[in-house]
């Protein structure tokens, strides 16, 4: 089922999902928590990501998230998703700058 991941140089994978309670986009952090901010997302190599992804999916209910998957980011600080879709998930709708995720606590 799993599609092969081809990462360009300078790219890593992060895990993302939506929070069960409110549907908000969250990112998996190295301390095992899920956070609204992509800044804390753990940067993973492909094989690392595969193992963590299956563990995170098994634990999704307990962690209060749905639909866990991985996506490629540029490994900069903070990490920046490669696709427009994931950029919008990370930062919020482009048409409402006042809802920028960065400005939330």
């Amino acid at each position: 089922m799993k599609r092969p991941v081809r990462l360009e140089p300078g790219q890593k994978l992060v895990l993302t999902a939506n929070r069960l309670l409110d549907g908000r986009t969250v990112w998996w952090c190295a301390d095992g928590t899920w956070n609204l901010h992509i800044g804390c997302a753990a940067l993973l190599d492909a094989d690392e990501a595969e193992a963590l992804l299956s563990r995170a999916s098994e634990q999704a209910q307990r962690d209060g998230v749905v639909g866990v998957y991985d996506t490629a980011v540029q490994a900069v600080v903070p990490p920046e998703p490669v696709t427009v879709r994931e950029k919008i998930r990370a930062h919020g709708p482009t048409v409402h700058p006042e809802f920028a995720v960065e400005t939330e606590q």
Binding site: G23, G67, V84, R85, I88, P93, T94, H96
Partner: protein, 557 residues
Amino acid sequence: MSIPVGHYQYDPIDRDFLQARIAEFEGQVQRRLDGTLSEDEFKPLRLMNGLYLQLHAYMLRVAIPYGILDSRQLRKLGEIARRYDRDYGHFTTRQNIQFNWIRLEDTPAILRELAEVDMHAIQTSGNCIRNVTADEYAGAAADELVDPRVHAEILRQWSTLHPEFTFLPRKFKIAISGSPNDRVAARFHDIGILARPGADGAPVFRIFVGGGLGRTPIIGEELFDSVREEHLLATLEAILRVYNARGRRDNIYKARIKILVQAIGVEAYREAVEAELAQMDLERYRLTPEAVAAIRSRFAVPQLEAPADADAVLAQQRRDDPLFDRWVRSNTHVHRDPGHIIATVSLKPAGGIPGDATSAQIARLADLADAYSFGEIRITHLQNVVLGHVRKDRLRDLWLGLSEVGLAEANIGLIGDIVACPGLDYCALANARSIPIAQKLGARFADTALQAEIGALRINISGCINACGHHHAGHIGLLGVDKRGEEFFQLTVGGRAENGAAIGTILGAALPEDETVDAIARLVDCYLGRRESGETFLDTLTRLGHEPFREAAYETV
């Protein structure tokens, strides 16, 4: 005002049903939260209650049956936007409203609040018969032959939780109009119904089947020319049965009725429906004049009284105020009563988000509806709002009131009246963002004098092939495509949803997002430069063919 005009009055049975349904959903949400239900198990249940999971949050789609609301209901929608969302709502092309920032745990409370004003989110999703849409000028327009709301309500009652049609092969959309001028895109629906008076005065119905947009756009074909009122429900039941039995369930992209009609041909479909009718108990489905009258009696009728000089007052005000005059020209429609007029409130401010309204605007619209239009509001399939019965001598006061909350844009039917789906800013299925392109086009053509000069020109934008923004039906259509993670737009021209329905023709290769607005501006310039007197964009396009427009769009300077 005791009972609101415009829509059907619920009775205790309807209300008990809604409460039972909410209690059921509340239990389902509880079981989802405690883990008894998995996401896979819960998803179809939440969709049946209008709750989607989008990119940033849950989205709740609330049904507005045939697009008609009373001010109390609209006020409630504004309160929900303020309390449970981020202070705004989005009106859709299916005359519904969507809230974009909903919390799962709040949903039962929101549904309770909606039920207080006889509203719900049932049949806004899933493979059932969806909310029936109707002409936004129903019961008001001078050109109307039959008020479609009574039959729209009959269809709503027939289709709500219809046990046989809860798990159709795919979603099913019905639209009904009673005007010779199709304002519901009847030929782009699974079933489109056009009502007209029959010889004996009772309405007869022309029925189209198998229209649709999406990845396979198809114009509906006429199944029957004149179905008598008493046989309307039996006929629809038979059409649905044939589809339910024979529509494809193996491939989601081939599951709509349009694919079945194309596969077997409309004649074979008609024969199958007739065969079904021949073995049905027609008596059970007979729509008697008494039954219709009983439904009609649940609609309060506005008492249309206007002073004798109402028309003269309006004429004078238009002469005195050119800005008001421009708004009247684009944003009103002739009412059946000479002292009244239909006003369309544009939710397309230049540079704004098509179809969005803030809770403050929603509240003001409710107040203005109370003051000027019997407390009745209609949502249009082009994402605007109609106040159906405004006294002519009070129209200017209404316009001034709208101006105070930024709702007096004079652009209905013009290039600024853009239809756009939520696109990649919200939608989990999107390829590209629809709203920013709409905003850029709106800003580019912000000048209302220029818009009036350009004349009738409809731009429709969808963020993916699902076509929620009806791009195939736009005079100019834009479809978002994804090329290696970048946003591109494919341009079509010549689509139309009104009489003479047509699917737009693709002009050429998709353009990068940042070249799209310029290309459209060149298309418009091409039309302005070459049109003959009195021609609209579609007229010029028809006369000249696509080639000059293709050249203009792809010309690189």
